[in-house]
């Protein structure tokens, strides 16, 4: 994928004007992670209501791909059923970003937000819902992300 295809207007716009940027006080789900290779950081806060994502916010620093990806992911899951978010795949995220065939180094930037989201859901499902079977499956998915 050429950089002219990666750094399209929409990616730059989400990088410079991230939607849903910020924090939620006492969120139901809170997760933070970083990519030790490049230092990108991401924290995601989520509130749930009636089994739906009622609010989601993120903070972080990093490259255009990682930050735009996080912002677009928050828009993708806002108001969605918890089940939908649990089932979200990396293909869904890349499709939503319009990024295909990213190299092995840069795909980590694009998927950091999904990794944070999945680990956040994992903690929620295992600690608050005590649903071990479901939690194990999500953890396996999350650890396979990069």
């Amino acid at each position: 994928m050429s950089s002219a295809d990666i750094y399209r207007e929409i990616i730059l716009d989400y990088y410079r004007n991230p939607r849903n940027y910020g924090k939620i006080e006492n969120p139901d789900i809170s997760k933070k992670d970083s990519n030790p290779l490049c230092g990108d950081e991401l924290e995601m806060h989520i509130n749930l209501k009636d089994n739906k994502i009622s609010d989601v916010k993120f903070t972080g620093k990093g490259c255009a791909i990682s930050q735009a990806s996080a912002s677009m992911l928050t828009e993708l899951i806002m108001d969605k059923d918890f089940e939908f978010v649990k089932e979200l795949t990396k293909e869904d995220v890349l499709e939503n970003l319009g990024l295909h065939d990213l190299g092995p180094a840069r795909i980590k930037c694009a998927l950091l937000s999904l990794k944070v989201l999945k680990y956040g859901i994992y903690s929620y499902v295992s600690e608050k819902l005590k649903d071990t079977a479901s939690a194990d499956k999500i953890k396996e998915e999350a650890s396979g992300l990069f």
């Binding site: 950089s3 990666i6 490049c38 230092g39 490259c63 255009a64």
Partner: protein, 414 residues
């Protein structure tokens, strides 16, 4: 090709990798030399010649192959001694790299000499390899780790060193002779003199300096000195720790095993002589022999010429890059105080995005925190881009690099 202090055309011919193309048809422009340099054919041939013709283990066997291999391995030690100008060849310890050399000192000398409430002083522009071993040591001992700060020109604030030394509790001062991010050349002799006046030991991390400037250890007069072969045309997996003989003799071994022993009994062992006391196990024979060819190569050009070439390139690059709209440069503008390393940011383009874009034009630079997160914090950035030069780089390559930066700027509409 521009007129140069060195014969750039013939040098480039010695590096097979420089003939390859990247991203289909772009000539490789390799500006990531502070991370590792490319290898000339002479080094590659020396390694393959060892494996093809006299591969064997060293020091013990008496057959001809072992004698040839031992001689080639030990000859490298002599060449290193000459290269850094020291008298005693047995003070040269071969290790895996600078990181291992520093860890060896921290684990062996550090554990014997640093006690509770003592102070180890490092600097804000160190690589993680000259911070983390000291964090481990000082935490274990209940000692303190202190930092010499970096000023806005990217130079060490030496008044802070004086204040630490005045406490009378400093056991070791450890600093890099050249910063891997800013390129700043430390005032090494001044630092060492101050420390020795107070009886404090000094370790010099020379990973970035030995490949680029002439060093003379008799003049420098430090206590420990560490560098890596792979940043100076040699193979990966070889590094050097030099330390004064009396210190090495007082230190306990870092690794126990074969080659480092004199006699082993069931419950006690006596140590072999230097340097073997610190070279347990079969060493990296092939790559030490490859390193020998790298030292020959640099010797033939002459380290003064290497430095002169890099000064010329860096001066040109700084002039050109300063004119790029939105550029922010880190480090001193004074070329006499810096090596061939340029750290920068361009507008709000994250270094990883920038490196991705210019890589498409064949330009390989490093982006990120450069294993120097303490310095990134000091500069108040999460990352920088870094271009670093070596003997085979040219002004024409810098022109391509600058055009590529401008393309990135346009892509990001800066």
């Amino acid at each position: 090709m521009q007129a140069s202090v060195i014969n750039i055309k013939s040098i480039r011919n010695d590096f097979p990798i420089l003939k390859r193309k990247v991203h289909k048809d772009k000539p490789l422009i390799y500006f990531d030399n502070a991370a590792t340099t490319q290898k000339p054919i002479q080094v590659i041939d020396a390694i393959s010649n060892y494996y093809l013709n006299y591969n064997s283990n060293i020091h013990r066997a008496v057959h001809q192959l072992a004698e040839e291999a031992t001689a080639a391995y030990e000859l490298t030690r002599d060449k290193v001694a000459k290269f850094i100008n020291i008298k005693n060849r047995e003070e040269i310890i071969f290790v895996r790299g600078t990181t291992e050399a520093i860890n060896l000192v921290a684990y062996s000398w550090g554990r014997q000499n640093v006690q509770k409430d003592d102070i180890v002083v490092t600097t804000e522009y160190e690589h993680h390899s000259n911070i983390v071993p000291w964090q481990l040591l000082t935490k274990e001992k209940g000692a303190k780790l202190e930092y010499i700060g970096v000023d806005d020109n990217g130079e060490l604030i030496l008044d802070q060193l004086d204040a630490y030394l005045d406490t009378g509790r400093v056991k070791l001062v450890t600093f890099s002779q050249m910063s891997n991010v800013l390129g700043t050349i430390s005032k090494s002799e001044e630092i060492i003199k101050k420390c020795h006046q107070k009886g404090v030991r000094v370790l010099v991390d020379a990973a970035q300096s030995v490949p680029h400037i002439k060093v003379d250890l008799q003049k420098l007069d430090c206590d420990f000195f560490a560098f890596s072969a792979h940043k100076m045309l040699g193979p990966t997996g070889v590094g050097v720790l030099w330390a004064r003989k009396d210190l090495l003799e007082s230190m306990v071994p870092f690794n126990g095993g074969g080659d480092m022993i004199r006699e082993v009994h069931k419950y006690e062992t006596t140590w072999n002589d230097l340097p073997f006391k610190f070279e347990a196990g079969t060493p990296n024979i092939a790559d030490v022999i490859g390193f020998s060819a790298a030292l020959d190569y640099l010797d033939k050009i002459g380290m003064d010429k290497v430095r002169e070439h890099e000064v010329e390139l860096t001066k040109y690059a700084l002039e050109q890059i300063s004119a790029v709209k939105g550029i922010k440069l880190y480090g001193t503008p004074d070329i006499t105080k810096r090596g061939g390393v340029i750290s920068f940011n361009l507008g709000d383009i994250h270094p990883h995005d920038l490196a991705t874009i210019i890589d498409e034009d064949g330009v390989a630079i490093r982006s990120g925190h450069h294993c120097a997160q303490v310095l990134m914090e000091r500069l108040d950035v999460s990352a920088t881009s870094r271009a670093s030069f070596y003997i085979y780089n040219t002004k024409e390559e810098i022109d391509v690099f600058i055009r590529s930066l401008n393309r990135a700027r346009e892509l990001f509409r800066i």
